[in-house]
């Protein structure tokens, strides 16, 4: 399918740039460093920061705001720290989430739920690391699933 660029929402990029954190999105020169550094892209080939920015720049409003992609960002800021053009990608993702909520692509509660998932994931990781017995040798076998079970137990007990 050919994308006719002048028929896309060519104002979209300006709108994103108006959002807090979106100011530098148009500076992207597509070097790909964000995607190369992204831990989410490492596990999900569909997730690709450079591609998301490109879609914004080309005016693909509906495709971007209705997709899962902005929500997959873990806000680790790795890409943001390395971007040679100071595109604040993590902040752009926040801007897109706000726009998605505002424009009715997702229910406002979804944002809260994602936040809860983030908090939970952080706590889980925290507990998992804490529950590792031996911190000094490399001999000890780390079984994330088992650690997760223990950690979940701890979390449940706390709540």
């Amino acid at each position: 399918m050919t994308i006719v660029l002048n028929e896309q929402d060519t104002k979209f990029k300006y709108e994103v740039a108006e959002e807090p954190g979106g100011e530098n999105i148009k500076l992207c020169f597509a070097c790909g460093l964000c995607t190369a550094s992204c831990p989410v892209a490492d596990i999900d080939p569909e997730y690709n920061p450079r591609r998301i920015i490109r879609m914004v720049l080309l005016g693909m409003r509906k495709e971007v705001l209705s997709s899962n992609l902005p929500w997959l960002c873990t806000q680790c800021y790795t890409c943001q720290a390395h971007c040679p053009q100071n595109v604040k990608f993590s902040d752009v993702m926040k801007a897109l989430r706000n726009m998605a909520v505002r424009e009715g692509y997702v229910h406002p509660s979804f944002m809260e739920q994602v936040k809860e998932i983030d908090t939970f994931a952080q706590e889980l990781r925290h507990q998992m690391v804490l529950s590792m017995v031996d911190k000094k040798s490399e001999e000890v076998e780390v079984a994330p699933a088992k650690l997760a079970e223990e950690a979940l137990g701890t979390l449940r007990a706390r709540s």
Binding site: M1, T2, I3, V4, L5, N6, T10, K11, K13, Y14, N24, K26, L27, C28, F29, A30, C31, G32, L33, T35, A36, S37, C38, A41, D42, P45, N48, R50, R51, R54, M55, L57, L58, H82, C83, P84, Q85, N86
Partner: protein
């Protein structure tokens, strides 16, 4: 000579890189005196470090080196190396520049560059030139071909160790020598200051160690232990120093460290010294105060023996005081007295029972033991006190068999004055220490000690000593059962000997002296050491002895005792840091004898270091002062060139203009953690890689990795490291990295015998320079993998040294790829020094710290009269730097034209002798080159041999034939022996021939009567392991030179008069700028323009990307040209014929369609014929009115055509008709042109959709900012690949023809299309048809794309091989307006080097044709690269135009009949050499 009220005919050039060199040469050749200020010891800059240059792959050093010599030897260029420009005051044309000259410590006039100093220098440092991949010495020459060919010493302030040592010992020096195993040299350095090194190697508390910068890392160097090893190991067989005997006698009272030191220093100055010692032994406290387990007596005795060996007399058992008195000494003829009696009187405890039997004071106790008296320390011993005497007494008591030894100290461990290590040793041996305990009474029974009544103490407020005062705790008394009490609570000098001497004593009971001079209250009597300071350390006493010696010498010589002396406050050294790259290494531990062996006897406890430990420990030294001043170089330099006492100085220079060519720094990628530079050894910077590739580099050109010295099989280049990166505040493009990476990849491939996997990770390949795109294509053909991706991370694969690169590939997927070696293509940045200089000069910088220039004045800074060239005004490559350098020189030359030739030096020579017809009388001068030749070749034998050769009337050898005194000697020998041929057998003619030629010319001989034999580079150096054969070869080489010299003849180079007017072809910006510059310099200019008006292509340009008003600029320029009295403009003029040569051209022009013919005579020709816009066939151009070229678009914008400025969707396609098979070059300006127009349209209508379809956005240098701005304004950039070009078609919809542009978005991987209202094509710049004709007329070449081809693409970018013809502007290659202007000024500057001369002297070594033999076949004519040969059609012989001939010899080699001969290298001469070489 300066003109009244006129400008000054001198220019100061800052920076000795290729830019500075070119500017200096142009100016010096144009009649100005030049000061070339270079901060390093040698000129050459970064170009000297490069391996090869792109795109021709010339050896960088090979093309640079002749320039270095030309510049360095130019009589009108004064090179100020190791210097910095401080400030410039005054007006353009009349500046006062202050220059700071740092000391080089090597006399340039004397240094011959032989390198023997560096051989002996013990200090190794990372070589900056080799990018720390190899070492250099503290005395160094940056690189082998450096100019000046002289060494320099790098020195910082004195290091903290040496500054701390009271005696000023050169600690770093002897530590460095020790690290190199030079123990004798180390000892002799120690003995410069220390007369008793053995003693101090054991007992010195080593204040130096406390200040050692190693403490910033871990622990100080074990300096004392190193000294001890040196003293114990070195065979001290050094001959006694030459002592110049003097009459004066001096008496020294006391043979302790102060007395010994004073005696030592006085004796070394020749004075007769007698030491009077009250005790039966010499050494004072060293003998009687320090127990033997710490200082064996034989060590002390050896030190004293060394002092006696100098001739110092020591009279023991001779107390001074009652008889003889001090007065007696003077009566006996002693001219001065130094009192150094020490502090041997013990202080009483002041408690009851102190007189009892069993109480013996510490100093007395130790003295008795030392003197071998029987001393008892039976039973329980209590030592009272906390100083060194207390500890020494306690440990001695143990050794004498005490049952138990307890130290009672009234404060705590923290306040204890004894040295920590001594206290620890005492405790280890079993000494008990009771803290916060003081004796109240010594308990006795029948006047014999039975115990000590003690009081417990607590600490109160600090007292005068700064330590907390002990306060008795009431009622805390307790008794200890003790048999022997040793009070050790202090000692004082015994001053009874002073009675009646008139010498005053202080309240503390010490001798009163002047603290600066150590004079006492009695004239002629000095005092120092413990008797003056109170009990203190030996090294201070040694220092006092030296100080007293200095005072006594001054006193005896009636000099001011105080002048230049102050009370030394040992200021901490400012050198307080750890050099980069030094890691932790623990301090060596001093081995000791086991505890069980210490119980009885006084065996030395510390064993000293082994040699291995010492060397390793000494190698820990950080060399804080860099040069250690060990003086080995001074001893090694046979030319006496080294002077460590040189001081920096500031000079004021009067100059008319200043040119800044201060270059750049490479970006340091260390802070980029993700690339692992300095963390992983196989991640290197591009400049390091240049050195790795270089045949003279750290790996001798073998391509190996740093980690394992194995050849890499896979190499990656990461582009834009420190460029195009706003997160690093370096948003600009460094312009040169893409091409140099391609060059490095190509060269790397040639360095290995296998197929090297090479990948370059880039964002846009920016090969916008002339012929660079072909170079890029060549890289692709060679299999270099170009990957469009920015690498995120480099990580080492454990243990392999291999590197994993993480990036997103073209398929948009995260990828990891393994390499063996990674090169970071680091960007260019201004150096902090340049920024500081610019600030001092008040020059405007841009936001990145580069020098600000404007488009229409590219070599002018913001301050009039100060010009800039090279990378200081922005990243650029060598040819652009050279163009700007010439351009800046041209601008300065125009400013100073009235002062031309006012300050230059013209050399007057004696008339040349006519030696033709004389029998050859040959002088042979054979060089030892220090030991470079003399060490391997038996030079005297070669001299004798030379004398035996035919026609040799003189042969002799010289230590350095190139030294100044030898030049005089050569002249004398020419005179004395009436020599008419001179041979020097030494090094290479490349560097030295001009010097010797100059010398014989000064003696009246024609310079071509000189011959050189290279017996160093080609003999002694390569055969150093076969000295006999080397000698034989040297003889052969001399024999060959003699054979040739016999046939040598004087040559008379042609002198050609110069016509001082110029012809400029082309009336565009370039031509007009050149013409104006030359006219401003006072030369007549003929400007030829084929159209009806001036302006050229610029007439079609309205504004520049920086919003410069091109129209106004061009019309002003044209107005200046038209109105200039010295410029004659010929419009509608066509050149029909041209002939002649440099200085004497004739050009015939036709005007008004053949109606007028004029003949113009001119000295130089500047070709500035410009270029045109290509008329595209592609993308419906000419078939759809909506398709425009960028220039047309600019026109439409300028006239506000609503169809353009109000349109909704505008598309631009880049590289429309270029970078393809037909026109395989980049037109350089089109990306900027597109962005310029896009920005203009966005300004007019911000919501216009603008799409730019591009292959590589080539917004090099600071243009990157505009690219960034265009993106920020919403311009969309769509990448396309050449095999997948955009398609443009007309689509009919709703009764309209849409102009549809189809492409692909590589990020989305989707087809995209735009319905364009306007389509603008970036079309190539093409040369005009007439270029070909002009090329033929002026005998200059064109490149494959029909642009004029310069003489050398790197170093002669505006010259042609044919002298006197120059090129600039678009005729040379596509370029921006600012670049054209710089090049136009450069062409004018280069032309000035001809026009400014009255005559031009051609080369003497030229071809000649024997017309009797020549058949006129014309082979030579076709081959001559300089157009210097023409076959006379009538006479049928070839004629050489000597004015054009460069003496390359091509014709001689090609001539089938042997008619063409090279003067100075005739067949006879060459054959005679060959015969000489092969005959037995």
């Amino acid at each position: 000579m300066e003109l009244k009220d006129g400008p000054i005919g001198a220019v100061l050039v800052v920076g000795g890189g290729i830019g500075g060199i070119q500017a200096a040469l142009d100016l010096a050749e144009s009649g100005y005196y030049v000061y070339l200020v270079e901060k390093s010891p040698a000129i050459g800059g970064v170009m000297a470090q490069l391996d090869k240059t792109f795109p021709t792959l010339d050896c960088s050093m090979c093309i640079l080196s002749p320039k270095l010599i030309e510049c360095g030897r130019h009589p009108n260029i004064e090179l100020l190396s190791c210097s910095e420009l401080l400030e410039v005051e005054g007006e353009p044309g009349n500046f006062r520049a202050r220059v700071l000259k740092h000391p080089r410590y090597v006399d340039l006039a004397k240094c011959t560059g032989c390198g023997e100093c560096a051989e002996v220098c013990p200090i190794e440092l990372p070589s900056e030139f080799e990018q720390s991949l190899a070492a250099r010495k503290a005395i160094f020459r940056p690189f082998a071909q450096a100019y000046p060919n002289a060494f320099a010493i790098e020195k910082r302030e004195r290091p903290p160790c040496g500054l701390t040592c009271p005696a000023g010992t050169n600690v770093q020096g002897y530590v460095a020598l020790t690290a190199k195993g030079q123990y004798e040299e180390a000892l002799s350095l120690i003995k410069e200051k220390l007369p008793i090194p053995g003693v101090l190697g054991r007992v010195c508390p080593a204040p130096c160690e406390l200040k050692c910068n190693r403490t910033l890392l871990e622990e100080p160097i074990a300096i004392r232990a190193i000294k001890r090893f040196v003293v114990d190991t070195a065979r001290d067989e050094s001959p006694l120093p030459e002592i110049e005997e003097r009459e004066e006698k001096i008496a020294i009272v006391g043979s302790g460290p102060a007395g010994l030191a004073c005696a030592y220093h006085l004796r070394r100055q020749g004075y007769k010294v007698t030491i009077f010692e009250a005790l039966p032994v010499a050494g004072g406290m060293l003998y009687v105060g320090i127990p033997e387990y710490r200082l064996p007596k034989d060590v002390l005795e050896k030190d004293i023996a060394g002092i006696k060996r100098l001739g110092v007399e020591i009279r023991t058992n001779t107390p001074i005081g009652t008889k003889p008195t001090i007065d007696d000494l003077f009566q006996q003829g002693y001219k001065a007295v130094f009192a150094a009696v020490g502090a041997h009187r013990s202080q009483p405890l002041g408690v009851p029972g102190e007189d009892a039997d069993g109480v013996i004071h510490g100093v007395d106790f130790l003295r008795e033991i030392s003197l071998g008296k029987e001393v008892k320390a039976k039973g329980k011993v209590a030592i009272i006190g906390g100083g060194d005497v207390a500890i020494d007494s306690a440990r001695s008591a143990l050794r004498l068999g005490a049952e138990e030894v307890t130290i009672l100290y009234r404060r705590t461990r923290v306040e204890m004055p004894a040295r920590e290590e001594e206290v620890e040793a005492a405790e280890t041996e079993g000494v008990k220490i009771e803290y916060l305990v003081a004796p109240a009474e010594i308990l006795t029974e029948k006047a014999k000690v039975t115990g000590v009544r003690c009081t417990r103490m607590e600490l109160g407020e600090p007292d005068a000593s700064g330590r907390r005062r002990p306060i008795p705790i009431p009622g805390s008394e307790f008794d200890l059962k003790i048999d022997t009490v040793v009070p050790a609570v202090g000692q004082a000098p015994d001053v009874s000997f002073l009675e009646g001497s008139g010498i005053r004593v202080t309240q503390r009971g010490t001798l009163e002296v002047d603290p600066v001079t150590l004079e006492t209250s009695r004239e002629g009597v000095f005092a120092g050491g413990d008797c003056q300071t109170g009990p203190w350390i030996a090294i201070e006493a040694v220092a006092a002895g030296a100080k007293a010696a200095e005072s006594i010498i001054r006193y005896l010589n009636h000099q001011d005792l105080r002048e230049g002396r102050v009370i030394e406050e040992r200021e901490p050294s400012s050198v307080s840091f750890v050099p980069f790259g030094r890691t932790k290494e623990p301090r060596a531990k001093m081995p000791t004898i086991p505890i069980e062996e210490r119980g009885s006897g006084f065996k030395e406890v510390e064993l000293g270091f082994s040699e291995a430990v010492t060397v390793k420990e000494a190698s820990r030294c950080l060399a804080c002062g860099i040069c250690s001043e060990c003086m080995q170089c001074v001893a090694a330099c046979k030319a006496n060139a080294i002077d460590h006492s040189m001081q920096e100085e500031t000079v004021e220079l009067r100059v008319g203009a200043v040119i800044l060519s201060s270059g750049f720094d490479e970006f340091d990628p260390t802070p980029l953690n993700n690339y692992g530079y300095r963390k992983y050894p196989n991640v290197v910077t591009s400049i390091e890689f240049e050195r790795m590739l270089s045949a003279s580099g750290p790996f001798q050109g073998e391509l190996v990795r740093c980690s394992d010295r194995q050849p890499p099989r896979r190499v990656a280049w990461i582009q834009c490291v420190g460029s195009r990166d706003e997160s690093l505040h370096r948003g600009y493009c460094s312009s040169v990295c893409c091409t140099y990476a391609i060059k490095e990849a190509i060269i790397a491939g040639e360095h290995v015998p296998f197929e090297l996997e090479r990948a370059i990770f880039f964002m846009d390949i920016r090969t916008q320079g002339k012929d660079f795109d072909k170079f890029y294509e060549r890289g692709k053909e060679q299999g270099i993998d170009f990957v469009r991706a920015k690498v995120y991370e480099v990580q080492e694969r454990d243990g392999t040294g291999n590197l994993l690169l993480k990036y997103v590939a073209e398929d948009d997927k995260p990828n990891t790829r393994e390499f063996d070696l990674v090169v970071l293509s680091v960007g260019l940045q201004p150096s902090p020094e340049c920024i500081a200089l610019a600030k001092r000069l008040g020059i405007q910088l841009n936001k990145y710290g580069f020098c600000h220039t404007s488009e229409f004045s590219p070599v002018e800074t913001s301050r009039a009269g100060i010009y800039v060239c090279g990378a200081f005004s922005g990243p650029k490559d060598i040819p652009e730097t050279v163009m700007q350098a010439s351009g800046a020189a041209g601008a300065a030359s125009a400013l100073l034209a009235p002062a031309r030739d006012t300050l230059v030096k013209k050399k007057e020579y004696v008339p040349e002798k006519d030696v033709s017809g004389e029998e050859p009388r040959i002088g042979v001068f054979i060089c030892q080159c220090g030991i470079n030749i003399g060490g391997y070749v038996a030079v005297p034998e070669v001299v004798e041999y030379a004398k035996s050769l035919p026609d040799v009337v003189y042969a002799g050898d010289n230590l350095y034939t190139c030294s100044q005194d030898t030049q005089e000697k050569i002249k004398e020998m020419i005179e004395e022996h009436n020599l008419n041929r001179v041979i020097v057998a030494s090094c290479t003619p490349r560097t030295h021939e001009p010097l010797f030629q100059e010398t014989i010319r000064e003696a009246g001989l024609n310079k071509y009567l000189f011959e050189m034999a290279n017996i160093r580079d080609q003999c002694s150096w390569v055969h150093m392991h076969e000295p006999e054969k080397a000698t034989e070869k040297a003889k052969d080489l001399v024999k060959m030179a003699v054979a040739k010299a016999r046939l040598k003849e004087a040559l008379k180079p042609l002198s050609i008069p110069v016509n001082h007017s110029a012809l400029v072809i082309g009336g565009g910006i370039a031509g007009m700028t050149s013409a104006l510059n030359l006219a401003d310099q006072g030369f007549e200019v003929h400007l030829i323009e084929r159209s009806a008006g001036l302006g050229g292509t610029a007439n079609r340009i309205h504004y520049t990307i920086d919003k410069g008003d091109v129209r106004t600029f061009v019309s002003n320029l044209a107005k200046s040209v038209n109105e200039h009295p010295r410029i004659r403009v010929y419009t509608n003029a066509w050149i029909v014929d041209a002939y002649g040569y440099v200085g004497n051209f004739t050009t015939e022009i036709m005007r008004y369609r053949g109606r007028v013919i004029e003949k113009i005579e001119h000295g130089v020709t500047i070709i500035a014929t410009g270029a045109e816009e290509y008329k595209p066939q592609e993308y419906l151009y000419g078939r759809d009115p909506r398709v425009l070229t960028q220039l047309e678009l600019e026109d439409e914008i300028a006239r506000s055509n609503p169809d353009v400025v109000d349109c909704a969707n505008l598309v631009m396609i880049q590289c429309a008709g270029s970078r393809n098979g037909e026109r395989p070059y980049c037109s350089r300006v089109c990306c900027n042109q597109a962005i310029k127009n896009a920005l203009k349209l966005k300004e007019l209508k911000p919501d216009m959709n603008i799409y730019v379809l591009y292959r590589d956005m080539r917004t090099y240098g600071f243009y990157e900012e505009h690219y960034e701005k265009a993106r920020q304004m919403g311009v969309i950039f769509l990448l396309y690949e050449p095999e997948d070009k955009p398609e443009v078609s007309q689509i009919r919809r709703d009764g309209q023809y849409l102009l549809r542009v189809k492409g692909k978005d590589p990020v989305l991987g989707e087809e995209v299309a735009i319905d364009a209202d306007i389509l603008a094509l970036a079309v190539p710049i093409v040369p005009p048809e007439e270029a070909r004709e002009l090329a033929m007329l002026y005998k200059v070449p064109l490149n494959a794309d029909s642009f004029f081809l310069e003489a050398h693409v790197k170093l002669r970018p505006v010259d042609f091989a044919t002298e006197g013809v120059f090129v600039c502007g678009l005729a040379h290659a596509p370029k921006a307006i600012g670049e054209s202007i710089a090049q136009a000024k450069a062409a004018a500057s280069r032309a000035t080097t001809v026009l400014a001369k009255e005559t031009i002297t051609a080369e003497g070594i030229v071809a000649s044709v024997d017309e009797n033999i020549c058949s006129g076949c014309g082979i030579c004519e076709a081959l001559c690269p300089y157009g210097a040969i023409t076959v006379d059609e009538k006479e049928k012989v070839a004629k050489v135009n000597e004015a054009l001939c460069k003496g390359c010899g091509t014709c001689c080699g090609a001539c089938p009949s042997g008619a063409a001969q090279q003067r100075g290298f005739t067949a006879d001469q060459i054959i005679s050499m060959v015969t000489a070489a092969v005959e037995v």
